[in-house]
Subunit: 549 residues, 2 copies
C-alpha cells in the first residue's frame, strides 16, 4: 500500500482554505498513485478549536466540508481529522473523529478514545470518548486507526504520586482482530522535550504490535501553541524509516512494501535552533493568519528586546519591523548605542521617543498627592508604563502589533510592570528563561554579529533607577532559572528544591515571588509555548488563595 | 437523625483556617446533639483549587488536615469534602471525595462520579470518576452520599445539537440497595439562573427516590467565582423544608423526624438585589482573603464607575475607598460635578488629577512621528492610558487595589482601551450588561440618592473626543445587550439572532465586534462571574482564527 503523509498548516475555523489544502493534497497523492492519503487530527478545522466546538454553525460547516472533500476521493482513500455529532442520547455531544473517505463519501468514522485533559489540553470539555474498537480495511490492509493520544495509553500521571498511568484504557489492546499497520493522526504541540517522548511512544507501539506506525502531525502555530510537524514512519523493528520536516509543511509517500527509506533527512537543530525555528513559526503564523504584517518593538539596548527584534525581522522582514528607543534619565549611554547598533545590524527603522517629559508631566500632576513620599516602585512603574503608552500609541496609529519582550524568568518572578513592559499582542520569550535567551542570541549571531555583543555581555538592568542591576533584586540567572525550572516544570516542592542543592533563603524568596505574581501573569499577553509547562492556559493557578504549603 | 448543615466560607489553600472552621462547627453540632454534621465539597481546601491539585504538598496537607478533623469526630459523624489519592495503577491520580469521619478516624470515602468539565469547570483535569456505588450507613440510616454534579445526571448538553444528556451514568440509579436519604455536598457557583435550576434538580431527585435531599453548598468568593450558599433540605414530596441564607455563612439543623420546618426564611431579592449581594461577596472576599483593605477607582461621572464606587464602599467601608477624578479637555462640566456629588454622597476621599499636561507631553514627544496624521483611536487611547498610569501610580504608591469599571457590554464589543480603562485587579461589572448596571444603580439608590441621578439619566459617553456619545458607535444598549445575550449566553448564530427579530446589519456589526475583540479580553482582569457565561475561564475562544461562520 502506498500512503501519502500530508503535514499541513491549518488555520482554525478557515474551512475554505483548509478544505482547499486538503483537496490539493488528495490530488497530489492521486497523481503519485497512492492508495491512501492521510491528514492530521481535526485537520478540517485546525487544532485547537476550543469553544468554537460549542458553536452549531462551526460543527455543521465542518461536517459539510468533510462531505465536500469526500467527493474528491475517487480511486483513493483519505483519512481526514474532523468532528462528528454523537448520535447517542447520552454523553458529550461530539466525537473527535478520523473520517475514512472513499468512493465519494464517508465510509467510516473512527473516534478518539483517550482525551487529553491536562496542561493545555481540554478535550473532555468537548468530546465523548470512543468505546468501540475495531480495525478499518483500506486497500486490502487491516488498519488500526488511532488519533494522537490514543497511542499514549502508557504515559504516567504527570508528577505522579505513585507509579500510576494516566489512562485506564489501551485502545490498541482493545482491538480483538489482527491489524497490519497502525496509523495515528495527531495534533501534537512542540516543546523542547516533546520530540523524544513522541518518538519513544511510536517506537514502543511499533515494536509491541510488530507493525509499522504511520504518524501524521500538523505543522502550525495557533496563538500560543506551536506544532512542529515531524511526521514519521516507524517500522516493526522500531526504526524510523521516514521523517518529515520540522516547522514546515511537507508531503511524503510511504510504501508499506519498502521498510527502509534511504534518503532520511537528519534533523540536526540544537536546543537554540529548535527554539529559534519554533518561535519563527509562532511569530509568522500569528501575523499571517490574522492578516497583520507589521510589528513594533521597544528597544532597550538589552538582550531580550534585541532577540525579539531579530526574530521579528526573520519572521516578517526588516521592512516590517520598527524599533522604538525610549531613553529615560536613568538610561545609560549604551542603552541607545546598543539599540542603534542592533537596528543598523538588522536594517530596521527606529524612532527615538525620550520619556523624560511625559514622566515629568505625570509626576508633576501627581505631586500634590505623592508629596513627602520617597521614590519607589510607583515611580519606577510610571516610566515603564509611559513606555507602554508610546508603544501602543505607535501600534494604534500605524496598525502595527506590539511584540512583548519579557522572558520567562521575569514573568515567573514578576520582574516586570503590568500595563508597562508586559504590554503586547504576543509574548515571544515568555516561555524562554533568561539563560535560554543568551543561547538564542548566540544562535542568531551564528553567522556573524546581528545582536550587538555588548547587549549580550553587559549586566542585565531594568534601568528604572540609578545604577539598577537585575542582580540587585534577583538571584543570578543560572541559579534563578534552575530553581524556576524545578518549581514550575518539575513541580518540586520548596523542600525538594533545597534538597537538590539550592540555598534555602534563595529558594524561599524565589518561590514567594512566583506565587505572589500570579495576578500579573493573569493579564499577560498570550505566550508562545516552548516548554512542557508554559505560563498561560496550561497552568491554572488560583489568584485568591493561600500559597503557604 | 439530627443533621447539622454547615454553609461556610473557605479560603483556597488555607488549611489551618478551613480546618479550624470545620472543627468549630463540629463542636457546635455536638452541643446541639446532632448525629451528623455536613460540610461542602472540597471544604478542606476550598473550591476551585485548580492546579494546586497537581502539587504533592497541597494534597498531603489536605489529607493530614482531614485526619486531624477526624480526631474531633467522637460521638458524631462528619461528612467533609476533600481529596484522596487514587490507589489504582491507572487513571487520574485523585478522587474528589466525601470523607465520612467518626470515632476519631476516616470511616469511609465516597468519590464523585460526574465530573463537570465545561464552562468554568475542569474537574476531569484532576479527578478520576467513581465507579463503585453503594450507600453509607450513618446512625442507623442508609445514606446515598453524593457530590454536587452527581445529582445532575439528567442535565441536557448545553446548547444541544439534539435532545441528549451530558452524562452516560446516573450515580443514584447505580446504587442497588435502598436508601433513606440523599445527602449532596456541593460547590455550586452563583449565576442569576442557577438558583432555580439547582432547586429543580434537588426536587426532582427527592420525588424520584421518595427520600429527603440534604444539600450543603459552600458560600464564598474565590477570584471570579461566587458561591451563594442557599443550602437546603427538600422533603420526599419535593417541598423545601429548610432554606439557608444567601451569600453568608449559616448553620442549620435538620431533624429527619420533622419534615416541615416552620420558620422558613423567605428569599426575596430581585435580580438587582442578587447581583448586588453577589458582587458584594465577590469584592469583600477578594480583599479579605488577599489581606487587602483599600481600593482606588477612577471616577468619570458616569454610571459604571459610580456603581463600582458604591459597591466598594458597601464592601470595604467609605474610609477604604478613594476616587480619582481625571478630566481631560474633552470632559464635560458634569463629569466632575457628578463625580464630586457621588463622592459626597458616599463619603469617600477624592483626588483631582487632570490629564491634559501628561497627554500633551506624550503627544509632543510623538509629534515628529505622528505629524500629518489625523486625531483618531491612537489619540483617544493615549487619554485612557494616561488615566491608567495615574490610577496604577496611586495604587502602587499607597497599596490600593485598582477596581476595574468596564461593564459586560463594553467588554463584549471592545469599547474600552487595553492598558487604559481595562486596567484593574478585579473587574466588578465585567459580567453585568449596561442595562443591568442601570438596575444596580436603582437598587443602590433604593433608600435615597447615592448615585447621582444625573449619572443615571445622562447619555453614556467615553468623552475621548468632542461631543462623543456611546450611541455614535454602538447600537442602543437595550438592543445591544439583547443581541449580546443571545450570541454569548444562548449561543445563537447570527442568522438565529436575525430571525429573532433584530436588524441584520446591527447583528452583523455586533457579532463582528465581539469576535474581533477576543484579544483584548484575553488580557482582562479576572471578572466576577454572575451569568451562566461570563468572559474569562468559562469561555475559551481561539485568538488566531477565522470567525467567518
Amino acid at each position: 500500500m502506498k500512503i501519502a503523509l500530508c503535514q499541513l498548516n491549518y488555520t482554525i475555523g478557515d474551512f475554505a482554505a483548509n478544505s482547499k489544502k486538503i483537496i490539493d493534497n488528495i490530488e497530489k497523492a492521486k497523481h503519485s498513485h497512492c492508495d491512501l492519503v492521510v491528514f492530521s487530527e481535526l485537520a478540517i478545522c485546525g487544532y485547537p478549536p476550543l469553544d468554537f466546538l460549542e458553536n452549531k454553525d462551526f460543527i455543521h460547516t465542518a461536517l459539510r466540508a468533510i462531505e465536500s472533500i469526500a467527493n474528491h476521493c475517487q480511486g483513493i482513500t483519505a483519512i481526514v481529522g474532523g468532528v462528528e455529532i454523537n448520535p447517542n442520547k447520552k454523553g458529550k455531544k461530539l466525537y473527535n473523529t478520523a473520517f475514512v473517505l472513499a468512493d465519494g463519501k464517508i465510509q467510516q468514522s473512527v473516534y478518539k478514545t483517550l482525551l487529553p485533559t491536562y496542561d493545555i489540553f481540554d478535550e473532555y470539555r468537548y468530546f465523548e470518548p470512543n468505546t468501540f474498537f475495531d480495525t478499518v480495511r483500506i486497500a486490502g490492509v487491516d488498519v488500526a486507526l488511532t488519533i494522537c493520544e490514543d497511542l499514549w495509553d502508557k504515559q504516567p500521571v504527570e508528577n505522579s504520586f505513585s507509579q500510576s498511568k494516566l489512562y485506564t484504557v489501551s485502545p490498541l489492546a482493545e482491538i480483538k482482530s489482527k491489524f497490519d499497520i497502525i496509523i495515528n493522526i495527531a495534533a501534537s504541540p512542540f516543546s523542547l522535550q516533546q520530540e523524544n517522548a513522541r518518538k519513544s511512544v511510536l517506537i514502543d507501539n511499533a515494536k509491541q504490535y510488530h507493525v509499522p506506525v504511520v504518524y501524521v502531525n500538523q505543522v502550525s502555530a495557533n496563538t500560543e501553541l506551536i506544532f512542529d510537524g515531524q511526521s514519521m514512519v516507524i517500522n516493526p523493528k522500531g526504526e524510523m524509516v521516514l521523517e518529515m520536516s520540522e516547522f514546515s509543511e511537507d508531503f511524503s509517500i510511504f510504501d508499506t512494501n519498502q521498510s527502509i527509506k534511504s534518503d532520511l533527512p537528519v534533523h540536526q537543530l540544537d536546543q537554540a535552533g529548535k527554539l529559534y525555528q519554533a518561535i519563527l513559526l509562532g511569530l509568522s503564523d500569528y501575523f499571517r493568519k490574522m492578516g497583520f504584517t507589521k510589528a513594533v518593538i521597544g528597544l532597550s539596548g538589552g538582550i531580550d528586546s534585541a532577540v525579539v527584534a531579530a526574530l521579528a525581522v526573520d519572521a516578517l522582514g526588516a521592512d516590517n519591523v520598527v524599533g522604538i528607543l525610549m531613553p529615560s534619565k536613568f538610561s545609560s549611554d549604551h542603552s541607545i548605542s546598543d539599540a542603534e547598533q542592533l537596528a543598523a545590524n538588522l536594517g530596521i527603522k527606529t524612532h527615538l521617543l525620550p520619556i523624560a517629559d511625559s514622566v515629568e508631566a505625570v509626576e508633576n500632576t501627581l505631586e500634590p498627592v505623592f508629596r513627602g513620599t520617597a521614590f519607589g516602585i510607583a515611580e519606577e512603574n510610571i516610566q515603564a508604563r509611559i513606555r507602554g503608552v508610546f508603544l501602543m500609541a505607535y501600534a494604534n496609529k500605524f496598525g502595527h502589533i506590539l511584540l512583548n519582550t519579557s522572558n520567562k524568568s521575569e514573568a515567573a518572578v514578576g520582574y516586570s510592570t503590568l500595563y508597562g513592559d508586559m504590554n503586547g499582542g504576543l509574548s515571544i520569550l515568555g516561555d524562554v528563561y533568561k539563560t535560554q535567551v543568551y543561547l538564542l542570541a548566540e544562535y542568531i549571531n551564528r553567522n556573524g554579529e546581528r545582536i550587538p555583543i555588548n547587549s549580550i555581555t553587559k549586566a542585565p538592568s531594568a534601568e528604572l533607577r540609578p545604577g539598577q542591576k537585575d542582580a540587585d533584586s534577583l538571584p543570578d540567572y543560572d541559579t534563578l532559572d534552575a530553581i524556576l525550572k524545578l518549581y514550575i516544570e518539575k513541580k518540586y516542592s520548596r523542600d525538594e528544591i533545597i534538597a537538590a542543592g539550592y540555598e534555602a533563603e534563595t529558594v524561599q524568596k524565589t518561590v514567594l515571588m512566583v506565587n505572589r505574581n500570579e495576578y500579573k501573569r493573569f493579564q499577560s499577553p498570550p505566550i508562545l509555548r516552548l516548554s512542557p509547562k508554559a505560563f498561560g492556559l496550561g497552568r491554572r493557578m488560583p489568584l485568591v488563595a493561600q500559597y503557604d504549603f
